[in-house]
Amino acid sequence: MITMTKKILLVEDEPTYYKVLQKALTDEGFDVTLASEGKQAILILNRETFDLILLDLIMPGLNGFDVLEKVKTLPNWNNAKILVLSNLGQIEEIRRSVAMGAADHIIKANLSLPEVIEKVKVYLNP
């Protein structure tokens, strides 16, 4: 059996979140790439593909919704699963991100770190 290291793109502008997530996910054996804003995420996705994308919504410049829209137009888009990670959690916002193609919408403050890691694992190994 060949096991490939799963690649995750973390799109998050808040250092308190991306530092802890990057460390926790790396500790779990994932290959984590960080994009600290939407534009950078699109640039990275132009040349690389990932197994999973963790996407924040509120970011300066290109926000999460913009990224959700843009990824679909990329020539090498591989339909990677996208988990939205945001503190926006009104029903309309959840509906919107799911309608735009997100696999799930996680409200950051309401979920513990182990719960988030667990979700990531479930989405990577269905």
Partner: protein, 358 residues
């Protein structure tokens, strides 16, 4: 309906606030003037003039600053005395003074006429004001959630099983911090929930809910809360409960609050019974505990925002006083009723209704 604006009161509060500011400015200036007599360090006036002009154009105190500067210039022409460094000290203090002034202004205005302080004229109607207020609370709460959530994950990483760097006493302290952090998150969530409910009472999404299953699941999920005081959780549900139409998240919130309270304010080895009863037009759900009880005098207050019963505070210092308020708002949103019966030191029963007609 447009808001009545009272220009007379408006003027009085403005005048008072302004005079307080002027008195403060003069007091500060006098203090520096006194200092000036003891100081012989004179400096070139031109750089400070630029600073003054910048202040003058950016702060609401431009006029006062300009007058003071003019006085210094006149002083300079007639006596050839250059301003001392005390003047620079004044310039440093100036922004703080402005902040203080604004605070005083704000509080004075609020006392005299709250509509002025909130700049009501800007809003064309009360609805518009309410909308802005709602958006503001929602934005503030979301902004609070970002650092709180970041704190949470970082603490969870530190306290997690894999971390061995912490000694026991540090770990114990961090556990306290973590508990407070979680409490703040739930407080912010409650605030958001209340904000939403107060304003869109009738627009909660509804769907068919299987009551018995939902209650059973919730009781299973809350079992971990009962271990410490060995409380028995009992469900006495009618066999054939019809489906009801409401927001499942909101119903969960109501029951969770009542059951968690019943566990928290119970005696050791007590009981919590959740009962459902079907009448012609509604389902009545009641949560009975064997705990400290609520006195009759508190009947009105218990559902008020931020109210906590003295006996409840004695039993547990934790609690925001928002839980039952939120519960009442939700129950009323589906046109239900909520009430309680209680005997001190014997127990309390909270009951609420869900109408069957959609």
């Amino acid at each position: 309906m447009p808001l009545p604006i009272q220009p007379a009161e408006n003027k009085i509060s403005w005048f008072k606030a302004e005079s307080v500011s002027i008195i403060l400015a003069l007091l500060t200036l006098n203090a520096f003037e006194l200092l000036r007599y003891f100081s012989f360090d004179y400096v070139d006036p031109f750089p400070f003039l630029i600073v003054v002009l910048v202040y003058a154009s950016f702060t609401s105190y431009g006029l006062i600053t300009l007058i003071i500067t003019l006085l210094y210039l006149i002083d300079y022409f007639f006596t050839n005395n250059l301003p001392s460094h005390s003047f620079f000290a004044y310039l440093i203090v100036f922004p703080f003074l402005t902040i203080l002034d604004n605070l005083i202004k704000f509080s004075l205005q609020e006392k005299f006429n709250p509509t002025v302080a909130l700049n009501f004229e800007k809003f064309r109607s009360r609805q518009e004001f309410e909308k802005t207020k709602r958006e503001f609370i929602s934005m503030a709460a979301h902004q609070l959630k970002t650092p709180l959530g970041g704190m949470r994950w970082n603490l969870e990483m530190l306290l997690g099983n894999k971390s061995t760097v912490l000694n026991q006493s540090v770990k114990a302290t961090l556990t306290e911090v973590y508990a407070s952090n979680l409490k703040m998150i739930s407080l912010v969530n409650n605030l958001l929930e209340i904000n939403k409910l107060v304003n869109n009472k009738n627009s909660l999404p509804t769907e068919a809910v299987d009551l018995k299953l939902t209650i059973q699941n919730l009781l299973n999920d809350t079992k971990y809360l009962t271990h410490q005081n060995q409380i028995d959780l009992i469900l006495e549900a009618e066999p054939d409960l019809p489906k009801v139409y409401l927001d499942p998240k909101a119903f969960h919130e109501v029951l969770l609050n009542l059951v968690a309270n019943a566990i928290k304010y119970n005696r050791d080895r007590g009981k919590v019974v959740v009962k459902t009863r079907l009448t012609g037009s509604e389902v009545i759900i009641s949560v009975t505990d064997t705990g400290i009880g609520i006195s009759q005098e508190e009947n009105k207050k218990i559902f008020e925002r931020f109210y906590r019963s003295p006996k409840a505070i004695e039993k547990s210092s934790e609690g925001s006083g928002l839980g039952l308020y939120l519960v009442k708002l939700i129950v009323e949103s589906w046109h239900g009723k909520i009430w309680f019966t209680s005997a001190v030191n014997q127990g309390t029963t909270f009951s609420f209704t869900i109408p069957l007609v959609k």
